[in-house]
Subunit: 417 residues, 2 copies
């Protein structure tokens, strides 16, 4: 099945919004094994929109449209798509009831009511996070048009809760994907180590890079989930054999989630002391709901005075070695683990840039220490290759700290980066 | 001038990457007053790509292409665009030299060399952040094709440093934009208060929503920058009159940058004590390069024990009022300002969700306190309307804390939220 996406909205063409919707849909279609051939963005212009819909329904089996379902006169998607498909718009009572309830009023305006007008015979997708329902219907030449609301907070749950099951119901085979997450070796090396696996057709293996990490997606198609899983399993084992302990998870989407899970399982609590990452490590750990069980405290000790006061970093060490040094990272980790009475402590100190670098201590140099109160390990990040942003250095330093914690909790060598 | 964008790359169609490039380009074109009519994504498929380029250069004056300029065989953009335009690819010696220098080797592979092959007669845009240069050239029917590298870290600087000046050199008028940033009143209310201003043609005024904030962009076209600024000035004044002190900046893009600037100007230093935001406030402040001058320390005090130990929050208050209470927020702010010896201290405690809410203390309830050591102010965020994410609650709570600091430093009432 070939598909395309048309996103409707002048705000996308003005660059005020990134087209997140297209990426969400593309990911789901890919997991379903549906080929996405084009995505495009058209403004709130009826002529151009009509032409785009006409062309898409000629050349593709499935057209997914996002945006333009709202109450204002600019919202043209349904009217235009229905016209191209030769369908009338009719009132969908249940959607109207939901809109009335949503606004908690007896009467809603004509404009709001417009949102409950849907092409006749359409399959309706309830919007649990907003007012405009989504829907699916067929054109005269047999193409399927699916229309979804623009806000990602409405589109994403509708996609997973309604659209994926709708699309699956039309498929004979089940598609299953697993992702193998890797930290410490890059996308190019990962691809090189697994290049022959990527030539397979079922399962397929594809590499993806993602903010200093990468992952391999293994996707199989079979009659049942169990059969598809059985096809994936030996490939995942083979990948594990080749990539080794740089794999931090299968199907757990982030280092922070992996680490919070490991901390929970081991009953250990962690504390963080951050300089150059400025709270980012604490933020990432506490992004995970329920992290309060394992996160004891975080300290952002930017000033040297505070490093001494709060963490007990010796004044002499700061003066002799400088704030960005192996010794200070070590003292920060040891200081916070003691201060917080935690099982594990992390200390991070470095130069995130863009200012503050010197020849001896360039932007991107970061020391990361992990202490369990008895032993302390320190790793060093050195800037290599082309200039990276402040955000990049901070993100990768926090990732490396998380990876050290993962390695500690799974009895792997910590300094082998 | 009408423009469109074609982004090339199967990875976009697999949804592994969000099309950030299109948004970056769209924003710049909008600021230049160039109408962007379509954006689309095509995979690494020569036939479909050729058709898409053919259609685009027929119907638009300017086609900007992103991606597919790299060294691999999948990278088809230049070959295909040159074929459609009837141009040969020729070696650009200077780009080859840059690539050789970049790899720090005497010889580069044939594949790497491919990146220096550009359509004959093209204007070349140097890539200061990678290897593949960008370029601009004309088709036989007079359309302009611009090709840019796919990674946003390469595309964004090339866009501002080379493409915008290139496009401006062809324009008679100068376009100037200013953005008026607002926190505390929503996009709908902002639009309502300024609806008549949005009907103007020069300058134009347009509202944008952005993660719990909004801003108005004022754009004018004139022969010189001074004239364009003079057109904008009275409109910006009028907006200030209507929106009042909810405007936190003109042309400073974030609350954190505004606050770091204000702290610097006033010579004051800040410290933060965070519970539910888990380091996000510290992270946002330290996102700003040079924030070390004004950021004294941050504490992420998740556990009650740590709130007592580090911040001196009284045990009785925690037991009686609960960790999420006005009293605890107050004690956290007062505790951190004392502990850090800073001029200002912020305390945040709340329920970010999705778990942990009760009827009395629902998800989204957050208390935020600001102390200057003498006085302390506390504001409260209550969840309203539909369910928001953990991320949303954390972001907005941190924003509100920043806005309180801004209000303090500019002598505005702090609790008037």
């Amino acid at each position: 099945m070939n598909a395309e996406i048309i996103s409707v909205g002048t705000e996308l063409l003005l660059g005020q919004i990134v087209n997140v919707d297209a990426a969400i849909i593309a990911r789901e279609l890919s997991a379903l094994g549906i080929n996405l051939l084009y995505t495009s963005v058209v403004g709130d212009n009826p002529d151009r929109l009509e032409k785009a819909i006409g062309m898409a329904t000629q050349r593709s089996d499935l057209l997914i449209m996002t945006g333009g379902l709202g109450p204002t006169d600019d919202d043209l998607t349904k009217e235009t798509a229905a016209r191209v498909a030769g369908k009338k718009l009719v009132l969908h009572e249940e959607s109207l009831d939901r809109i009335v309830t949503y606004f908690n009023r007896q009467n809603v305006s004509e404009n709001q009511k417009k949102q409950a007008m849907l092409p006749e015979g359409a399959t309706v997708f309830t919007n649990n996070n907003g007012t405009a329902p989504g829907c699916a219907f067929q054109t005269a030449n047999g193409a399927t048009i699916i229309m979804l609301p623009g806000p990602p907070s409405e589109l994403e749950p509708m996609m997973t809760e309604s659209v994926v099951p709708y699309l699956k119901s039309g498929e004979q085979a089940i598609i299953v994907s697993h992702s193998v997450h890797i930290f410490g070796i890059g996308e190019a090396m990962t691809a090189q180590l697994t290049s022959d696996l990527m030539e397979g057709a079922n399962p397929t293996v594809a590499p993806y890079a993602n903010e200093g990490e990468c992952f391999l997606r293994v996707t199989a198609k079979a009659a049942t989930k169990a059969e598809a899983d059985a096809l994936c399993a030996p490939i995942i084992e083979e990948i594990k054999k080749r990539i080794g302990d740089s794999i931090y998870s299968v199907d757990v989407n982030s280092l922070e989630e992996t680490v919070v899970n490991l901390l929970r399982e081991s009953g250990k609590r962690i504390a963080t002391a951050e300089s150059c990452t400025g709270g980012l490590l604490a933020k990432r750990i506490t992004d995970i709901s329920g992290s309060s069980e394992v996160f004891e405290m975080g300290a952002v000790t930017y000033a040297n005075r505070i490093k001494e006061l709060l963490l007990g970093v010796p004044h002499d060490v700061l003066a002799e070695k400088g704030a960005v040094s192996e010794e200070v990272a070590r003292a920060m980790a040891e200081g916070i683990v003691k201060k917080a009475g935690a099982d594990l402590g992390v200390g991070i100190t470095g130069i995130a840039g863009p200012g503050g670098g010197t020849e001896e201590k360039p932007v991107g140099l970061v020391y990361i220490a992990l202490s369990d109160g008895k032993n302390t390990w320190v790793t060093k990040r050195s800037p290599i290759g082309r200039t990276k942003s402040r955000e990049w250095h901070r993100h990768c330093a926090a990732s490396q700290a998380l990876d050290m914690v993962r390695r500690y909790l799974t009895d792997l060598p910590i300094e082998a980066q």
